[in-house]
């Protein structure tokens, strides 16, 4: 967009090194950003991108190296200095208080804490101007908790702009957006660049990096391994640079669908706080088939996962397993009915960090023989089961007595996979199974899911990553506001077409308002 050679340097990192214990998260990284430029910081999970940006923003102190903004060195470990120098950060996990209004969130911390009153009128005026300039429409008096994810991101950007940021750092900003919302975001960024701002765009999505950035920097294992103008690379080259080798994703052959193992018929579940429940949803999971569930996060995926996982029961409608309605639906009944559940958050719901591998391996089955008989535990049997998982699923660890919290995300996920797949499940609920894993672990998990499918299991894959959904699924549904689109066979839809559904268009008028008889065949 601009000529890098002549524009002045607005940001310069010089020899940044950061160690966490023995791990070197950033190893002597140097880079510079020019006025009006968009650079992309590309790398796998754990490559050190977020650490680097936290150092730039002053949330971490680097062990070595300096950060220079507009020619001035920033004092280390001082987010305030970074903000004042014109650095604005849009975090991957939004830093907004749900219970407070947009205006309150934006003005938080912009005045001296000793000031006796809040400047509100001036703030409104400035925000109105910024909204117009950058195309960021949002209602200032709305509680943040009531906003959509896309709107919240706009608030995050407004927050930075309100503080007169000249450099915007966006950490994985598209992870939670629909393709259309991503386009809107890019439009905003282009406007910002035209107005002379500079942007650091952190991502691992190659096509987005290609679409928005002028220059790409690639991090691997904490080191800056390559720096290329975007014109000189393509997606394949970037992928190879990112992982340090040719990528070999598992080949996906189409599955052969069998009988319907689980059937949801016009199911409604209660809303969960801000997240919608299921609205008159019908869905069939077939043996030997991966059903992909695409959608923007917070549109009912959690409700569907909770339903199938046994945490909630249908409010109305029918849920059938093998043609019969299960009674006393609960997590335990779900497990005993042959449902394998890979939870969305392996740290919070999948494992107990302070428990060792053995105690985690039997978490779902501890109450049955051979692990438990008339109230007594048989730890020897539990441990031999755990050893079997460790061997079969290649869990790298010192032994079954290791606390699971000390394992890497990939190894933790392998233990969870082993825990649920060893029971030869007939239905697999995989909720974000590869989030936060490096490519090696991603391929391993995908390979296991495909193998399970080929053995005849019905797999429900829930993911916010459209690429993952499109690569693996035999049939794709889109979920929006708790409603489900028709199933689209593999290869039928383009990402843009799915994006229309993800944005909530194409659904019939609200089904809940129709007569029940309208659904009768």
């Amino acid at each position: 967009m601009t000529d890098n050679g002549t524009a002045r340097v607005v940001l310069r990192l010089d020899g940044i090194t950061k160690r966490f214990g023995k791990l070197v998260a950033n190893d002597a990284i140097s880079l510079s950003l020019h006025e009006g430029e968009v650079i992309a910081l590309l790398g796998e999970n754990g490559a050190g991108k977020t650490t680097l940006m936290n150092i730039l923003f002053g949330q971490y102190t680097a062990d070595e190296g300096t950060v220079e903004v507009f020619g001035r060195t920033l004092p280390p470990g001082n987010p305030r200095a970074a903000l004042d120098a014109g650095v604005g950060m849009v975090h991957q996990h939004f830093t907004l208080a749900d219970n407070m209004t947009v205006l309150e969130n934006v003005t938080l911390g912009t005045q001296s804490l000793l000031a006796l009153s809040q400047r509100r009128a001036g703030a409104r005026e400035k925000l109105a101007r910024l909204s117009a300039d950058f195309g960021l429409q949002v209602h200032l008096d709305a509680k943040v908790g009531s906003l959509t994810v896309g709107e919240r991101q706009r608030v995050e950007i407004l927050k930075a702009l309100y503080r007169d940021a000249r450099i915007l750092i966006l950490d994985e900003p598209t992870a939670v957006l629909t393709p259309q919302e991503t386009e809107d975001l890019f439009a905003t960024l282009r406007k910002a660049v035209r107005l002379g701002l500079s942007v650091v765009f952190i991502s691992h999505k190659l096509h987005e990096v290609m679409a928005i950035s002028d220059r790409v920097l690639i991090l691997r294992h904490g080191k800056l391994v390559a720096e290329r103008p975007i014109a000189e690379v393509d997606k394949e080259k970037l992928a190879a640079l990112m992982v340090g080798a040719e990528v070999s994703a598992p080949r996906v052959e189409p599955g052969t669908p069998g009988a319907v193992l689980m059937q949801l018929d016009d199911v409604t579940t209660p809303d969960r706080g801000n997240a919608p429940g299921l609205k008159s949803m019908s869905l069939a999971l077939r043996a030997g088939q991966i059903t992909g569930l695409a959608g923007v996060s917070g549109n009912g995926q959690g409700a569907l996962a909770d339903l199938i996982g046994g945490l909630v029961s249908p409010e109305t409608g029918r849920m059938e397993l093998d043609g019969a309605q299960p009674t006393g639906w609960s997590p335990r009944v779900a497990v005993q009915s042959g449902i394998a559940r890979i939870p969305e958050d392996r740290h919070r719901t999948g494992t107990i960090a302070a428990f060792d591998l053995t105690e985690n391996a039997i978490l779902e089955t501890y109450a049955q023989p051979p692990y438990s008989r008339s109230g007594w535990m048989n730890w020897a049997r539990a441990e031999s089961f755990t050893r079997q998982i460790i061997d079969t699923y290649d869990v790298r660890c010192p032994g079954p007595g290791t606390r699971i919290g000390l394992l890497s995300g990939g190894n933790m996920q392998k233990l969870i996979l082993g825990r649920v797949l060893e029971a030869a499940p007939r239905i697999i609920l995989a909720n974000q199974p590869v989030r936060g894993l490096d490519i090696g672990a991603v391929n391993y998990v995908h390979g296991q899911l495909l193998a399970a499918r080929d053995r005849g299991a019905a797999v429900l894959l829930i993911s916010e990553d459209l690429d993952e959904i499109m690569a693996l699924s035999d049939v794709i549904h889109v979920i929006s506001e708790g409603r489900l689109s028709p199933g689209f066979p593999r290869g039928r839809m383009t990402p843009a077409e799915l994006g229309v559904w993800m944005a909530g268009q194409g659904f019939e008028p609200h089904e809940a308002e129709q007569e029940d008889s309208a659904h009768a065949p």
Binding site: F20, G21, G309, P331, R348, T351, L363, E364, G375, L406
Partner: protein
């Protein structure tokens, strides 16, 4: 500052912080003793001597430790499942109340038959008292810290009401106290001639039983899982609320045994000063023991020793015996920091 977990702590890492915590407690106590005009060395010496220095002192300490083992176990069991039972005091009085209701002649049985019945009845009473806050927690989400705390006040007033009403000893010269237990309801001494009753033996057995429950039984596994990560436990299919209620019953029952043992083993009747805060001190005992049931015994002996020793020191040199409470509160606060530092190191960002 930031806390960074340590994967494999060295021996120094695991021992030095707790040692410093104890050392600092001693230093603070010494300074306070000096403020009271005492010589710190002789004050501390007198505390140790008063607690463990003679057969009489030792027996006194063991007697004082007995209710603390029970309340310490009660708190340890509850805290393990992250059920904040601060109401051991009320549960203790519930156990004592049941003991005097049934043990003052209502059940004219032999000791062989009567004592087990009293144990079970006392435990049921204590369990019932904690059941109410536990149900309020699982049904309505009411924080059990406040309800169990408030129950302590309510229950003590309730006991006071009974002691001035239906349970009042007609021979008590107007004092609010119950009739004395019949001889069959009294716990015998472990060794004839030594002032130590079977309540202490019962406490040791209880500690062993709780240890086995936590390590070897399904319920113990469930309790630990619920305490460490309620969300993951629920997701895995552990019936979290049912486990919490079971934990409450067990915890309340244990605390009630403290009341039973004090009445049946030591006092012989129920008065309003039966417990000088054994229920609250149980929290310190449990925390110092890191919630480990076997360590509860050691912690209870330590805490009881400080109380008994401080009483004896106070009589000798006039430094107020509240020094013991200060030492324990300080030890508790410093120890939680010390335990943290055995597992995390403080680093700059």
């Amino acid at each position: 500052m930031r806390l960074e977990p340590i994967a494999r702590p060295t021996i120094w890492r695991s021992t030095l912080p707790p040692a410093i915590a104890i050392g600092a407690t001693v230093v603070i106590a010494s300074l306070l003793a000096m403020a009271a005009g005492g010589n710190p060395f002789s004050v501390l010496g007198l505390i140790i001597k008063g607690a463990f220095g003679s057969k009489f002192a030792l027996l006194e300490t063991l007697n004082r430790a007995t209710p603390l083992i029970f309340t310490g176990l009660a708190v340890a069991v509850a805290f393990r499942a992250r059920l904040w039972n601060i109401g051991a005091e009320a549960q203790l009085y519930a156990g004592a109340l049941m003991t005097v209701v049934l043990g003052t002649g209502l059940l004219p049985w032999s000791g062989f038959a009567l004592l087990p019945v009293l144990v079970i009845a006392a435990m049921l009473a204590g369990a019932l008292v904690l059941l109410v806050p536990a149900l309020l927690k699982v049904r309505f989400g009411v924080d059990e810290v406040v309800t169990t705390l408030l129950f302590n006040f309510i229950f003590l007033l309730f006991v006071s009401m009974l002691l001035e009403g239906p349970l009042k000893d007609p021979m008590g010269m107007g004092w609010p106290k119950s009739e004395r237990l019949i001889a069959e309801a009294r716990l015998p001494r472990i060794v004839d001639g030594l002032r130590l009753h079977w309540g202490f033996g019962l406490a040791l057995i209880a500690a062993g039983v709780i240890w086995v429950i936590e390590r070897r039984t399904t319920l113990g596994y469930e309790m630990r899982a619920v305490g460490l990560n309620r969300e993951a436990a629920g997701f895995a299919g552990i019936p979290v609320n049912r486990v919490l209620v079971k934990t409450a019953l067990l915890s309340g029952g244990l605390a009630a045994l403290a009341g039973f043992s004090e009445v049946a083993g030591l006092k012989g009747n129920l008065t309003l000063d039966l417990s000088p805060g054994f229920g609250y001190t149980g929290i310190i005992v449990a925390m110092l023991a890191l919630l480990n049931p076997l360590a509860v015994v050691a912690a209870a002996l330590f805490v009881a020793g400080i109380f008994v020793g401080a009483d004896s020191m106070s009589r000798a040199v006039g430094v107020p015996s509240y020094l013991a409470d200060i030492m324990l509160a300080t030890a508790l606060l410093l120890m939680v920091v010390a335990i943290l530092l055995t597992r995390f190191r403080v680093v700059r960002e």
